[in-house]
Point group: C2
Chain length 767, copies 2
C-alpha cells in the first residue's frame, strides 16, 4: 500500500530514526542452501555405522500395560536393540519451563516411553534399532504388548465430569495456585479478576453470553520429527535433531535421562517448520538409549502419521464468553470460562488463552476462569500464539454481535474500547506503549475497508488479536574477519529468516552491509546459552544480543583506531562504519580498512554479549476479510484478506510480511477445515495430509499486509516480535464475515462446509 | 626420576606457585573419540552427491609443458570435470606469511597446479572429478600432456653452480635483504654478524672447521592429505580438510583462488599428524575448482606415494661450521655457512637454521651465511623446529670434537659457554630469562650421565638444541553452562592434546576441574581468528587466550555474586572457584552454585579474549644417548636415551613428555635411516613406508624425559612451548655417541649402516 493510505505510518515515519540496514530487504544468508537442497536437515545426518530406529506405538487410546515381551523382536536378524520405559531412569516430580509452556518431567518421560499406561493412540511404547529401517519396522510387529484396554475420554467437557474415566489416578487438581486433594482430569484451575465483575454486569445496558467449541488442530510443519543420537563410550551424548531450541532439547534430555547437561551436546539441524511443535522432545531420548545399548549412532525419523498421532497438536477447547456493554458502546464487564484440552498430560496453553482473550480492550471489570484438562489425546504442544486463537474466536465474535446490536461499526467500536498505554491488563498490570489503536486506525483507513463489498452471499468481517511475546535469554559472538566482514555465532534455530534479521541488527551497529555478516547457528558447545526459538523472541532477544556484541566489537575497534593514531579512544568517533579522529577529519578509516590492520595492532577482535531482556513489547493485529459462502454446499471462499499488525520496528519487512501471511494462512486452515476426526474409541481417522485438510494456494487469495510501526521502547531498535499474533484474528474475522454473508453465527471451529450448511439450513427452517 | 636426582627442579619448586589443575595429568577430552574410531578425520567427511577427485602428477623432475589435452579424459563415462592451471586466476607477486615460513602466492599457486613447467616428479598438473575414485584414476591415464623434458638439478651445491640448469628463469637472488639482478637458483642469501669474527679467530688457540650434508626427510605423518570442497551457487566455498590451521588454509585459498576470505569457510577435521607439513595447502583449491565446475562436493585423498612425492619434506642441506676456542675452553669465534634446499620454489627454513645453529652458546664473534636454493624436488615445508636439526647436527658435533681436543667433559664445556639471560643472540638481541644452563646441569646430575657406560663398541653422546618458539594470534570464547561446567571454543587444530592443555589453563583460572571444560575446535565462521598450530605456540598463545577469556568470565561471575548479595563487586573475592563476600564469610558460593543462578540474575555468562602475545620464551634441550655400533654391519642400536628440556611450565606433563619422546623418536629416524633416495633423473626410489625406513618400536628404547621448569616471564603461567626443540639434538648426540663407540666422525645424515660401515672400514685402513 502507498503511504497516503496509512497516515499512522506517515506520522510515525516523521519521528523514525534513519537506518542503513534495518528496514531493508537483503536476501537471507541461508537462502541458496535451502533452494538448492544443500541445507542439512536432521534426516540428512550421516555417520559411519548408523543404525535405524522405529517406534512401537499404542493402538489404544487408553489402556494399562500388563506386560511387554521383546524377545521375538530381538531374535530377528538385523535387530540390534529394543528399549522400553524400563530403560529410563526413575525421575522425581519437577516442572521444567520450556519457553512456551512448562511440563512435569515425570510426564515428559512417560510421554516419550509409556510406563504403566498408554494414554492415547500413538503413544510410544518401545523403540527398536536395526541395521535398516525395514527390519526395524518388521521388528515392531514382533513386540508383544499385553494391554488391558480402558475406556477413553476424548472431549474436554466429558473429561471434566465427575464420572469420567481418570487418566491419572494420582492427578490432584491445582486450584488458584493451591494444590487440592481432589483427584480428577482437571489438572489446574486458574483465574484472573479485575474490578467487580458482578457490579459491572449490573451496570451494563445489555449483556451477551455465548458458548464456543474448537477442535484439535496440528501445526502441520513440513518436516517430520527426527533424531540421531550417539552415546559415546566416555558417557558423552551427541544428538542431532530438528528442534526449536538446542539448549531446550539438551535440558529435556538431561531431565529425562538424568545425566548432566554438560554430558549432552545437541547439534541443531536446519528445521523444516516448528510453530511451537518442535520444542518438546520425542525421539531424542529413545535414539539415545538405543545408541547406548548398541554403541552405535541411531537415527529415527517419524512418518506423517506418527507426527499427527504421536506429537503435540494444539488443544480442542470449550469457551463461554459473557460481555456487558453500555448503550454508548463502552464495555463495562467481561467474563470468560475457558476449558482447554491438555492432551494426555497436564499443560495446555490455558494461561496464555486467559491472558489474551480480552487483551485488546480496556475493560474495568473482568473475570476469567481457565481449566487445564487431560484427555486421551496426544499431549498438546505450543502452536503459534498458543491458546490465543481459540480465545479470540470466542471474544471477537461476541464483540461482533454486540456491534451488530449497537448498530456500530466494529472498528469504531474497537477504537472506543481499545487498550492503550497505561490501561490495565487482566493481570492488573498497566500496558507499556502499545500499538493496538494504530492497527485499528490503519485498518479503518485501508482501501480494503473503504471499499464496499458487493454481491450476494458475501460478507466482510473484522477481528483483532493480541500476543504478549517473550524475552528469555540469548547469547551472541561476533568475530571480525581480515576483509572487514564479521562472523556471527548465535544459538537461535532459524525458522523464519532470523539469521538475517539478527545479522542485520549487528550490521546496523557496525555500519556494514547485512551481507558482510556471516551468521552461524551454533550447537550447545559452541555458543552461549540461548533459549528456544518461540514466543516471537528471536529477532527481539537474539537480535538484541547481536546488537550488544556489535557494540562490544565497535568499542574495541575504536580502541584500535585510537592506538593506530596514537590518541585516546575518546577522541575517535564511529559513524556508519567510518572511524574518525574528531580533531582531524583527515584521519579516517572505514571498518574494512581498520579490520585489515587488526593483526598488526594487537590481534583479532571478538565481541560477545548475553541478554535476558525485560522490555518485551506485546503485539496487536487487526484483520479484515471478505468471504463468499456457497449456500448450496456451505463452502466458504476467501475473497480478500488484509492483515494489519504492529511490528514495533520491522527489521526485515519481507520476513515480517511473510510471518503475517503465514499466520493468516494457518489461521484460515484452522478456521475452515483443519481438525482431528476421532472415532469413538479414540483413533484419529484422518492422520494424513490427504485427509487432514490444510489450505493450498488454491484456497487462498494473496494476503495483503500492513506493517504498523509503534516502536517498543524496551528494545534498542523498537522490535516487538511478529511471528505469532497474525494467527489470532483469522478464525473470528472469518466467522464474522460468514455472518455478514449468510446470517449464521458459527460458534464451532472449523467452520467446514458441512457445519456451515447445517447452520444455513437451520436458519432457513426458522424463517 | 626422583627429585633428589634433580636439584634444579627442587630449587625451582620452592618458588613455584601452587596450582590446582596446571601440572596435573587429566585424560584428554578427545581421547575416547580417537581410540574408539569416532573422531571424524578429513577422509571421513560424507556429503550427499559427493564426487571423488584424483590428481595427475608429473613423471618428470623438470620439464616444460607444451600442451595438455583433457578431451579423452572428459569423454570417459563417469568423469564430471577436469581442471588444470588454466582454471586458476592470474595472481600477482605477494609474500604470504604462513606462521612457520612464508611463500610467494604466485609460487604457491604454481605448486598446486603447474603452469608452464613442472619442477619435480609428482608436481600436480591436472585434477579430475568422477563418480568414484576408480574412474577418476582411470581418467588420469587419458589426459595427454606433451612435455619437453629438461635436465633436473637435485643437489643444493650443484644447484648453486653457475652452469646449473635454472628452475625459474626469472628468479633474481635476494642478497642481504636487497634484490639483485643476478638470475640463479639461489633465491636468497642472508647473514648474521656479531662482533669481529676475523679478530675472534685470530685470538683463538685453535680452530676447527668441518663440512656436513643432510638428506631430504619427510615428516611422515600417519594421515595423508585430504580435502573436500563444496563451491556453492551463491559463491560461498566450504572446505573440509586436514590442516594445522583453518584460518591459514582459508587465507591461502583466498590468495590462490582470488576470492575474499569471507566467502570461504574452512572446517578443520581431526588431524592425523602434521609436524609442519600440513600448513601449506595442496588439494584444497583443486577440489574447489572441480566443485565449482560440477556444482557438487568433491573429495580428494592422497596416497602415501603422493604424500612423499607431492608434499613438502624438510630440506637436504650443506653446512660448513668453523669454531675457534681458547685453551681454557671458551669459544671466541664461530662461523657457519648453510645452504638449504628450498625444493621447487623459494622458501626453505634457512633463517631458523641460521638463528639456531649457535643459539645455545654465548659467543662474542659470530658470522653466519645462509642460502635458500631451489632444486627439482617437492617444495619443502616446515618440519618440527624447521632447519634447526640440520644446523645442530653440524655445530654440536664440531663442539664434541673441540671437547675431545680439550679433554673436557662436553657438558662441563656447555656449562662454561652456555647462553644465559642477557647474553646476545646472533641477531644481536639479548636473551630474556632462559633455562639452557638448567638443562645442562640437570643432564650432568642425571643418573644416566652419572652411570659409566661399559662394553665394546659402545659410546655415549650428548648434544643441545634450541628453538625460539612463536606467539602469533589466538582467540577463545568461554560459555558457562547451568551445571557449572563451561564450553570453550578455540581455533587451534588439536595435534598434541592442546584441547586439554588449553582447557586446563581456563580451568585453573575458574577454579574448576579440567573435565568441567568442554573444548571445541571451531571452524573459520565459529571462532575468532587464530593462527596455525605450529611453532610450539598453541599451549602458549591459545592457552593465554583461554586464560584471558576465563578472566572475563570470572569478572562477570563476581558481578553476579555481588548482584545476588546486593553488594559492590569489589566486596566479592573469588579464590579457587569459590566466590565469597569479604566482610561476611557466611556468604559464599561455589562456581557451580553461582552458575545455576545465572538465568535468574541477568542471563548467561560468556567470556571472550583475543591475544597477540609478545613474550615468547625460547626452549632449550640437552640430550644424552648411549649407542652400540655393530662393527660388522654398521648398524647403530640405541641403548638408552634421556631428554632434558626446559618447558617453562609444563601445563600437562604427560603431553610435554609425549612431545619430547615424539621429537626424539623422529630425530632418531632422521639420524639413522630416513632419507629420500633419488634416481639420477630425479625420481624418488623409496616412496612408500616399506622402503622409506622410519623407526618402529623395535628400534627405540623407552625414552627417559626430564622436564626442567624455568618459567617464561612472558606468559601468565610461564609456558614456553615444547613441541619442537626435542627433535634438534638427537642427530648430533647420536653422531657423538657413534664416535665414542667406534671412533668415526659421521658428517652426513642419515648415519645408515652402510655409511657407518664405510667410515669404519676407512678408519681401519688408515690404522
Amino acid at each position: 500500500m502507498s503511504k497516503l493510505e496509512n497516515p499512522i505510518q506517515e506520522e510515525l515515519s516523521k519521528e523514525k530514526p534513519k537506518y542503513k540496514v534495518i528496514g531493508t530487504r537483503p536476501i537471507r544468508h541461508d537462502g541458496t542452501d535451502k533452494v538448492t537442497g544443500r541445507a542439512i536437515y536432521g534426516a540428512d545426518v550421516k555417520i559411519s555405522g548408523l543404525l535405524h530406529g522405529k517406534i512401537l506405538r499404542s493402538p489404544h487410546a487408553h489402556a494399562r500395560i500388563r506386560s511387554i515381551d521383546v524377545s521375538r523382536a530381538l531374535a530377528l536378524p538385523g535387530v540390534k536393540a529394543v528399549v522400553t520405559a524400563q530403560d529410563l531412569p526413575p525421575v522425581a516430580d519437577k516442572i521444567e519451563e520450556l519457553g512456551e509452556g512448562a511440563i512435569n518431567i515425570k510426564y515428559l518421560q512417560e510421554n516419550i516411553l509409556a510406563r504403566e499406561k498408554v494414554l492415547y493412540k500413538g503413544h510410544a511404547v518401545a523403540g527398536v534399532a536395526a541395521i535398516n529401517p525395514h527390519i526395524a519396522e518388521e521388528a515392531l510387529a514382533l513386540i508383544e504388548v499385553d494391554y488391558e484396554v480402558l475406556p477413553p475420554v476424548l472431549g474436554v467437557r466429558q473429561a471434566m465430569r465427575e464420572d469420567a474415566p481418570l487418566l491419572h489416578p494420582d492427578l490432584k487438581t491445582k486450584s488458584l495456585g493451591e494444590k487440592t486433594d481432589k483427584v480428577s482430569n482437571i489438572a489446574q484451575h486458574i483465574q484472573y479478576k479485575l474490578g467487580d465483575p458482578e457490579k459491572g454486569f449490573q451496570e451494563a445496558d445489555f449483556v451477551i453470553e455465548r458458548e464456543f467449541t474448537t477442535s484439535t488442530v496440528h501445526q502441520g510443519y513440513i518436516e517430520p520429527h527426527n533424531a540421531t543420537a550417539l552415546w559415546n563410550a566416555d558417557g558423552n551424548l551427541t544428538v542431532w535433531c530438528s528442534t526449536q531450541g538446542a539448549f531446550m532439547a539438551q535440558r529435556q534430555l538431561s531431565d529425562v535421562l538424568q545425566i548432566p547437561v554438560s554430558k549432552i551436546k545437541v547439534i541443531p539441524a536446519e528445521i523444516g517448520g516448528g510453530f511451537g511443535g518442535k520444542i518438546p522432545i520425542y525421539l531424542e531420548p529413545v535414539a539415545a538409549l538405543l545408541s547406548r545399548k548398541t554403541g552405535r549412532p541411531v537415527k529415527i525419523v517419524m512418518s506423517r502419521t506418527e507426527v499427527f498421532e504421536g506429537t503435540g497438536p494444539t488443544p480442542a477447547s470449550y469457551i463461554k464468553v459473557k460481555m456487558g456493554v453500555k448503550r454508548d458502546g463502552r464495555i463495562v464487564a467481561a467474563q470468560a470460562y475457558l476449558a482447554y484440552e491438555a492432551g494426555a498430560y497436564p499443560g495446555s496453553p490455558i494461561n496464555p488463552g486467559c491472558m489474551c482473550i480480552f487483551a485488546p480492550y480496556n475493560i474495568p471489570n473482568v473475570l476469567i476462569d481457565g481449566y487445564d484438562v487431560v484427555v486421551n489425546k496426544p499431549k498438546t504442544a505450543a502452536y503459534r500464539a498458543p491458546g490465543a486463537t481459540n480465545a479470540a474466536f470466542a471474544s471477537e465474535t461476541v464483540i461482533d454481535e454486540i456491534c451488530e446490536q449497537l448498530g456500530m461499526d466494529p472498528l469504531q467500536f474497537r477504537l472506543l474500547n481499545g487498550a492503550k498505554e497505561g490501561d490495565r491488563k487482566a493481570d492488573g498490570l498497566p500496558y507499556p506503549r502499545i500499538g493496538y489503536l494504530e492497527t485499528v486506525e490503519a485498518a479503518m483507513k485501508h482501501e480494503h475497508y473503504q471499499t464496499p463489498l458487493k454481491g450476494p452471499n458475501r460478507g466482510r468481517g473484522v477481528a483483532s488479536g493480541y500476543w504478549f511475546n517473550v524475552g528469555l535469554q540469548s547469547s551472541a559472538i561476533i568475530s571480525v574477519n581480515a576483509d572487514g566482514t564479521v562472523s556471527l555465532v548465535e544459538g537461535s534455530t532459524d525458522i523464519g529468516g532470523t539469521r538475517t534479521s539478527v545479522a542485520m541488527q549487528a550490521a546496523e551497529v557496525l555500519g556494514i552491509a547485512a551481507e558482510d555478516v556471516r551468521p552461524v547457528v551454533g550447537d550447545t558447545d559452541s555458543v552461549g546459552y540461548t533459549d528456544v526459538t518461540g514466543g516471537s523472541r528471536v529477532t527481539f532477544a537474539t537480535g538484541w544480543a547481536a546488537y550488544e556484541a556489535a557494540q562490544d566489537v565497535k568499542r574495541q575497534m575504536i580502541e584500535r583506531a585510537a592506538k593506530i593514531w596514537g590518541v585516546s579512544p575518546e577522541e575517535v568517533t564511529s559513524v556508519e562504519g567510518v572511524f574518525q579522529l574528531s580533531k582531524d577529519p583527515e584521519k579516517r578509516m572505514t571498518f574494512k580498512e581498520l579490520a585489515a590492520q587488526l593483526s598488526k595492532t594487537g590481534g583479532p577482535v571478538v565481541g560477545r554479549a548475553t541478554v535476558a531482556p525485560r522490555g518485551v513489547g506485546g503485539a496487536f493485529a487487526t484483520h479484515i476479510v471478505d468471504v463468499e459462502v456457497d449456500p448450496e454446499t456451505g463452502k466458504v471462499q476467501i475473497l480478500r484478506y488484509t492483515a494489519v499488525q504492529d511490528a514495533g520496528k520491522a527489521i526485515h519487512p519481507s520476513y515480517v510480511e511473510g510471518q503475517m501471511q503465514g499466520g493468516v494462512a494457518q489461521g484460515i486452515g484452522w478456521a475452515l477445515n483443519e481438525e482431528y476426526f476421532y472415532t469413538p474409541d479414540g483413533r484419529m481417522a484422518n492422520a494424513s495430509f490427504l485427509d487432514y485438510r490444510m489450505p493450498t494456494c488454491l484456497d487462498l487469495p494473496m494476503i495483503d499486509t500492513v506493517i504498523v510501526e509503534v516502536p517498543n521502547p524496551g528494545h534498542p531498535f523498537g522490535v516487538r516480535g511478529v511471528g505469532e499474533v497474525p494467527i489470532v484474528p483469522p478464525a473470528a474475522a472469518i466467522a464474522n464475515a460468514i455472518y455478514r454473508a449468510v446470517g449464521v453465527r458459527m460458534r464451532h471451529l472449523p467452520m467446514s462446509p458441512g457445519r456451515v450448511l447445517e447452520e444455513i439450513l437451520k436458519k432457513n427452517q426458522k424463517s
